[in-house]
């Protein structure tokens, strides 16, 4: 009897774990219905009260290239896509092409969304990001506000 309840308890814990994993995945990825999806979105807790950055990966499982035309956020009225360059500069990016059966990473030191004058963001908060595409429905994801020094596994 004790063994059975132990097995049951283990099953319950495992089931809960799977449910949480599934829920987590659901939260971090959103699909646009045209083979486009956004995964791994996060916003490091900003060190400056005046500016934050958002990072994510756009995947395109479809057979035609997609064009990301902008990103909106509930954290501020001002968000724009930028690319940092190796020479210490930064430039605005009007649109980003996501190749068919490919992906584009907005990642540290490269493409990023600059959020100007964000609301107060602290680790544990979340930020909604809405990515707009040319010829495809917008995709909204919820990005967790991470620690200031969070780096995704395997990232630069």
């Amino acid at each position: 009897m004790r063994r059975l309840s132990l097995v049951l308890a283990c099953a319950l814990v495992a089931g809960l774990g799977i449910a949480l994993l599934v829920a987590g995945r659901h939260d971090s990825a959103a699909t646009g219905g045209t083979g486009l999806s956004v995964v791994g979105a996060y916003v490091p807790q900003p060190a400056s009260p005046d500016v934050a950055a958002a990072y994510f990966t756009v995947r395109n499982n479809g057979g035609t290239a997609a064009r990301l035309t902008g990103v909106r956020t509930d954290a501020s009225h001002e968000a724009m896509m930028h690319r940092s360059d190796a020479g210490g500069g930064m430039q605005m990016v009007d649109s980003v092409t996501v190749p068919a059966h490919g992906s584009v990473a907005f990642a540290r030191g490269g493409l990023h969304v600059m959020i100007t004058n964000p609301r107060r963001l602290r680790q544990g908060d979340s930020v909604r990001l809405t990515l707009t595409f040319s010829g495809a429905a917008p995709i909204t994801v919820t990005a967790p506000v991470t620690s200031v020094d969070y780096a995704p596994p395997g990232s630069g």
Binding site: A47, A86, G87, V148
Partner: protein, 225 residues
Amino acid sequence: MRSSGGRWRVCRLAAPILAVLMVAVVSVAGCGTSRPAGAAAIISDPATRSPYRGTVLQVPLKEPDVRLTDTGGHTFDLRARTKGKLTLLYFGYTHCPDVCPTTMADLAATLRQLPAAQQARIAVVFVTSDPARDTPGVIRQWLDSFNASFIGLTGPFPVIQTAAKSVGVPIVAPVTKGNDYQVTHGAEVLAFDPTDQLAHVVYTSGTTSADYAHDLPVLLSGGAS
């Protein structure tokens, strides 16, 4: 809105300085870090064994002889105050959304991994390239997000620019264009040896925390000399 015009101006300024730097580079250790496009001119020889994952300079750079103002509002003589410490120097600005906080965050994460005795022998120095907005107080608050021991310096822009230029870091005076405020930051972290106060190794903005964690103990052990 940002225009590419500003960027090209930066590049023009950067070109001669970078060219000198690049020629001085003797080797780049294979480290699995993808090098940014701008660093493609680095003359690398994967066969050359380097103890570092950073970029080794054949002609070392002298730590800038400059007096600036620290976040307490006091004069800070860079060479005098950092002598005896492995000094990691970076030029950036606090309103920078991506590279500057990422660089500071990676250095902070790296230091946390090191024994306290090693941490105590390292000085991380952030010099603003945007002194008009980066007051000592603003810099202090920003650096405290990463590590309260990081040193923050400001001063007249021409003084900062000259110091940056002396170590091959091209920064230009912030430019206001309409609503846009354009600033540049340094592209690398320079590591000055505790003893000779020369940078034998520099780190580009793509350097990972793991790379720093690999190199800093080697630098502390005098591996560069």
